[in-house]
């Protein structure tokens, strides 16, 4: 099993288990008190109870120990996420309104579909061409933002052959919810064949990625029309963005 997935799921189960015990405990005691000490069952309230130092210490110290344990679990998983194997293969990921662009070791590129060999550690260099995005692969329990002007890193291990969803998790405008993709993990031999085949290279800026199925036909048509409309409005490269900012301010001055 993928070590990161295991660590994340285990800390999740640990935290949720303690939480459920606490929640059920607090709720049960509360409901019991409401019935046991109702006006009918207990007509005379006991005015002498105003607090208890022992209890206060107990319910400060025990939760403190519990949350420190949770912190530690979370920290352990995080350490694994940041502990990028030095010999991992590198894929450059660029988020761009509204698709993913991948560049492999040998300069081969692809859009939307990320091909990876099975059983490898993969390190991602995350960049953005315009606004903030976040590269999220739920099946591998990892995400990291793509911020323009800097390079972020993350990694995962491709354990099993299969197809996994890629989603953009940082809101990035009109077609944020269509900024999807797929991780396609294939046996290493197949991957090498694919990555070395030069003629299948797509143009990096191709926007019409039909290979991605979002589920409905309706959404697909919507996607392409709006993409066209909006690329004119929203800048793709840095130079453009300055222009747009200026244009905006000019417009406002006219008003």
């Amino acid at each position: 099993m993928n070590p990161i997935v295991e660590l994340v799921d285990n800390s999740f189960i640990f935290i949720i288990a303690i939480s459920v015990i606490l929640l059920v405990g607090v709720t049960a005691v509360m409901i019991y008190f409401v019935f046991r000490y109702s006006e009918k069952n207990n007509p005379k309230p006991d005015q002498s109870i105003t607090g208890s130092t022992t209890l206060e210490i107990l319910w400060t110290v025990i939760p403190l120990i519990l949350v420190l344990a949770m912190f530690f679990y979370g920290y352990e998983g995080f350490k694994e996420m940041r502990n990028i194997p030095p010999n991992a293969m590198v894929v450059k990921v660029t988020g761009k309104m509204w698709f993913w662009h991948f560049e492999y070791d040998n300069k081969k590129v692809s859009d939307t579909l990320l091909y990876l060999p099975q059983g490898k550690d993969v390190r991602f260099e995350l960049m953005s061409a315009d606004v903030n995005h976040s590269f999220y692969v739920p099946a591998f329990r990892v995400k990291e933002d793509c911020i323009p002007g800097r390079t972020n890193h993350m990694w995962f291990h491709t354990t099993n052959v299969g197809t996994y969803d890629i989603e953009c998790a940082e809101y990035c405008g009109l077609n944020h919810s269509y900024m999807l993709g797929k991780v396609i993990v294939v046996p290493e031999k197949e991957y090498l064949e694919w990555v070395n085949k030069v003629d299948s290279v797509k143009t990096p800026d191709s926007l019409k990625t039909d290979s991605l199925k979002t589920g409905t036909v309706k959404t697909d048509s919507l996607k392409t029309t709006q993409l066209k409309q909006d690329t004119t409005k929203s800048p793709g490269s840095k130079k453009d963005s300055i222009k747009v900012v200026q244009k905006d301010s000019v417009k406002r001055k006219e008003k």
Partner: protein, 563 residues
């Protein structure tokens, strides 16, 4: 026996001063009238934002286009967030009930600066109007999300500038109110009311007010920088001009995380008011609850980084912020345990406000405990920016603050308006609200862990079942809310007259008539004991000079209710 009957027995609702009719309200500096004016505004915006929320749920009923286009959806969730956060959640309890109850609870005739108080209401309304106008002018409603993250918010062609200006103005309203409350609490407490004799609602407001004064200026500066960036391209945040988008996130959350505690602390204060009243006994662990409010406010300042665990912040700062985040859980837990312990050996009168509080404790506990999942680094990296986060903050904000706002309305309704409502209907409505709330938001946790990102107009087919369930929940919740307000509205028009102290409360607001007269007290009372003592009197309502001297409170209480 001090029963607080006044010689000039004209309530604040009927009083006529220099101005009459509408002007008597719009120009009134009476803290109670200002509180009610806030209530009017806040209710309107709550219904607007709730409607937007229902529309979002409708859109999520099926993948692809259901009732609106993606551009519309993006503006709808932005406005839902902006209106809920800045116009409802932040001001609701402090501005309405804080204004109304704070001076009465500490035995004062008004807040320290009544005119400033009215001014902050006008700021609130100006901000609100700007927010509404921004919908229909410029490039259309803002589509950035309520977080206004750069560089998107700088590049968006929509009318982001006016929406940020609105939030900027609203920030000032918040600062002014906070300042006013801090001074009021320091200077205007009745003789004998020491810090540890203050009602816990006042403690909640005190902690909140400090955050408002100290943290809100940061968001003001940040939003101003966004406007400068949009108009002049100064390049503080935009990487294309050499700026840093992460800097924006830091500045935004330095305010907006403490703001979460601005939202919840007053609500927690009301919980501590309602429980002893209906348990008919003193609160359990008064000092711990009071101090934990300050603890939450203090630690709350230092945890903003947990909103940015995947932003590319350094690993060390992620670890430190995670650790600090877990520490906030401690004072919060202390509160919950003390509340439940208050019920022990009480003589519990089961009424609508208490029922809301029990619902609050259950829902808020879920919200708090799922917060632990978000505080832990490994799990946060997986579920941040997904529906899990959306579920968490709706459990804390709506389930916490929102449900407590409803509880507060039911608790103080008789005092505000001097009318009683139908309790049976209130309890039924509360049940519907709690059921609807959980059906609506619980599926979000599951979808979030499955990997459904937030702010998605469209979604992958595997999520549809949960989305349908959640949308059905939204209908249940809304019918509960409408039912509840219908009941209160009916009571307002046709309810029977409320007595001075319908619940058997022990704090000062229950010692003055319902509704209270213009300056609350004909004579400033003297305080001789804690706020929730049920078996003896801790207030002398008509002490005279002798009474003040005898009880050690020669401190002058300077409160000219300016009229």
């Amino acid at each position: 026996m001090a029963n607080g009957t006044l010689a000039k027995d004209v309530s604040y609702l009927e009083y006529e001063g220099k101005h009459k009719g509408l002007a008597g309200w719009l120009l009134s500096v009476d803290h109670k009238r200002i509180g009610l004016m806030y209530l009017m505004g806040i209710m309107i915006f709550f219904f607007v934002a709730m409607t937007l929320g229902v529309l979002m749920r409708l859109e999520m009923l099926s993948p692809g286009e259901t009732i609106m286009k993606p551009a519309t959806y993006n503006s709808v969730f932005t406005l839902h967030g902006v209106i809920m956060v800045f116009l409802f959640i932040i001001p609701a309890i402090p501005a309405v009930f804080g204004n109304f109850m704070l001076p009465i609870q500490i035995g004062a005739k008004d807040v320290a600066f009544p005119r400033l108080n009215l001014f902050s209401w006008y700021l609130y309304m100006i901000g609100a109007i700007l927010a509404i106008v921004s919908l229909f002018t410029g490039g259309g409603a803002a589509d950035t999300g309520w977080t206004f993250y750069v560089p998107y918010s700088i590049r968006s062609a929509q009318n982001v500038s006016m929406t940020t200006l609105a939030a900027f103005v609203l920030g000032f309203s918040s600062i002014v109110t906070g300042l006013n409350f801090v001074v009021t609490i320091h200077r205007l407490r009745a003789p004998g009311m020491t810090w540890f004799r203050m009602p816990l609602f006042v403690w909640g407001l005190y902690a909140t007010s400090w955050i408002q004064v100290l943290a809100t200026p940061v968001i003001g500066i940040t939003l101003a920088l966004i406007m400068l960036e949009r108009f002049m391209g100064i390049g503080v945040f935009d990487p294309a001009l050499g700026g840093d988008p992460i800097l924006y996130q830091h500045l935004f959350w330095i305010y907006s995380h403490p703001a979460v505690y601005i939202m919840i602390l007053p609500a927690m204060g009301v919980v501590s008011e309602i429980l002893p009243t209906f348990a008919r006994k003193d609160i359990f662990g008064y000092k711990q609850i009071a101090i934990s409010s300050l603890g939450i406010a203090l630690i709350g300042y230092l945890v903003w980084g947990h909103h940015m665990f995947v932003s590319g912040m350094s690993d060390t700062s992620r670890i430190v912020f995670s650790l600090l985040t877990f520490l906030v859980a401690i004072p919060t837990g202390v509160k919950i345990f003390n509340w439940v312990a208050t019920l022990y050996k009480g003589s519990i009168k089961f009424s609508a406000p208490l029922y809301y509080v029990l619902g609050f404790i259950f829902i808020f506990s879920i919200g708090g405990l799922t917060g632990l999942v978000l505080g832990a680094l490994a799990t946060d990296i997986h579920v941040t920016d997904t529906y899990f986060v959306v579920a968490h903050f709706h459990y804390v904000m709506f389930g916490g603050m929102g449900i407590m706002f409803f509880a507060t309305m039911h608790y103080w309704f008789p005092k505000l308006f001097g009318k009683m409502y139908n309790e049976k209907i209130a309890i039924i409505a509360c049940t519907v609200i709690i059921v609807g709330f959980n059906v609506l938001y619980f599926p979000f946790f599951i979808m979030g862990y499955m990997g459904m990102p937030r702010r998605y107009y469209d979604y992958l087919p595997q999520f549809q079942g949960w989305h349908i369930l959640s949308t059905i929940g939204s209908w249940i919740l809304v019918s509960g809310i409408v039912f509840m307000f219908g009941n209160l509205l009916y009571a307002l028009l046709k309810g029977p007259k409320a007595p001075m102290n319908p619940w058997g409360g022990t704090t000062l607001e229950w010692k003055v008539p319902s509704p209270p007269p213009l300056e609350n007290f004909d004579e400033i009372p003297v305080v001789t004991g804690g706020p929730y003592v049920h078996d003896k009197q801790t207030y002398i309502m008509h002490p005279g000079k002798e009474g003040i001297k005898a009880n050690g409170g020669t401190k002058t209480v300077n409160q000219e209710a300016a009229l």
